[in-house]
Symmetry: C2
Amino acid sequence: MDQTARIALDVMGGDSAPACNLDGALLAVERGVPAERILLVGDEGVIRDGLKDRGGDPGFAVLHADEVIGMDEKPAVALRAKPGSSIGVATGAVKSGLAGAHVSMGNTGAVVGAATVGLKTLEGVRRPGIAVTVRLTGKPVTILDMGANVVPKPEHLVQYGHMGAVLMRDVVKTEKCRVALLNIGEESTKGTDLLREAHAALTESELDFIGNIESNQIFGDSAEVVVTDGYTGNVVLKLMEGFSGFLLTMVGREMAAHGADWAHEVLGNVRKKVDYSEYGGALLLGVRGVVVIGHGRSDAHAVSNAIELAGRALDADVNGKIVQGLADRAPSA
Amino acid sequence: MDQTARIALDVMGGDSAPACNLDGALLAVERGVPAERILLVGDEGVIRDGLKDRGGDPGFAVLHADEVIGMDEKPAVALRAKPGSSIGVATGAVKSGLAGAHVSMGNTGAVVGAATVGLKTLEGVRRPGIAVTVRLTGKPVTILDMGANVVPKPEHLVQYGHMGAVLMRDVVKTEKCRVALLNIGEESTKGTDLLREAHAALTESELDFIGNIESNQIFGDSAEVVVTDGYTGNVVLKLMEGFSGFLLTMVGREMAAHGADWAHEVLGNVRKKVDYSEYGGALLLGVRGVVVIGHGRSDAHAVSNAIELAGRALDADVNGKIVQGLADRAPSA
């Protein structure tokens, strides 16, 4: 197997690591990902023992990493203090061509920091962005940036539109790739200077730009890609997570009062639809390598989804297509 | 009755105007608001006929307004083109002392625009802000600004914290008035320059400032007042509205599959808890007068809530307390 087609899995990252990751890797193999495509990164003893406990090693590659960055450590500090962390080693594996993708349920800031510093940005890309695909209405929508770039420039937002459209077309395989700008009104004059300038630049771009949408329209069939700055994107993602958890708990309590034994099933079905880990996690787009950032509380199912997403992104050559698309956009550059 | 204790109700504003407003005014009287405290503003013929159809006039004051600003009209344009609109006339009534409060379910931008231009800002207040109180967890939380000030300065955010705390202490009557800054992490170094500077200024203020909170923490028992810029606040409010509607519809569909005849009741109970009009709408804080902005789709119940909120804000002298508090903060000014 071509090593750059391999997926480095940070075995030590996540609230239930290493169990969730080992279970997730095995589940991914069950679902059809070749074991030799997965490079397990972490404490080799822990990995070997963990696989033994789970019935043996189906043929994973293993890369030892001495250290672990905790979920609550400060990313920049931890990355400097622990050069041998599983996040650092997995990022290094992508950098040196031992793998093409890094999948981690660990400290998001550390994964993004390691990738931003360790892997260079793709040719033509100004700033990486975190893309999260949700399937709230059955129909996938990608929102980016989710926090990599808190104070972007208008051109960054245009590039996010471009990268998001490539993701939707080539990895998620949607028919349309309509791009919208998150704003507080439809008119092009709404919002901040950044939003007005981004609106103008997106209008001039070759993207299928449909204009501004308001946050409640994310749930309608309005756009496949919603572009926003990393501050707002982070607020939106965490609000959706927190609010859905809160609302569904409230609904569950009301239903419990009626003693419905199927309440659990109803809530589970809805929870699945709003859980973005169902789609495999977030992608850091714009760096030389595929980087998938899962939720800390991921279970084996979510880890397997994340591995499969990384595989699809590699197979679709999403980064090659991003670079090609940017080059086509700017022939004079 | 002191005219400045009166509440001017824009009878013509809202998706179901004038019916929802006339019904709402009558409901407010039923609930104990003296009829002579309510000044109905709108087409006098429509108002008189509407009251006749509803069993008569319990003693409302009426102020005629020739024109109506539609829900979808551009606020600035409409306000200039229709000086005799119910929104314009009601604002004028507050300005001239014919009333102390303006309550409208109409075009939000026009209500805010009329108030910002027509009523001056309170002494010491730099910029008005829209405060929305939600009672998601049973416990009220006020979020501001919800869209009046899209690009605020750090000092505006400090003033929003102050105004929100007065609202909670004196109108909502909460025990604590903890103020938090909406951000994407707890550390004071997180976010944009605005947020870092606001964090420093809030820390130095006399407010009970608990630091940054993330958007998912709005639903926890963390703060009574959440301060943010008008862009983010607007995104948050509309996301909560859109997402709760979307989620509850999805839950309803799942429940319908089980044929539960109480599904409607469960969803209704949850909807009520997340609906901010249950609390009476949004308050535009910082102008010389009490301005309550209800939702366009308000029913009589929501209109009555909005009237009662305006009454409580007047009775508590919320504006006097805001001015006094700001003066106490800056003795050298």
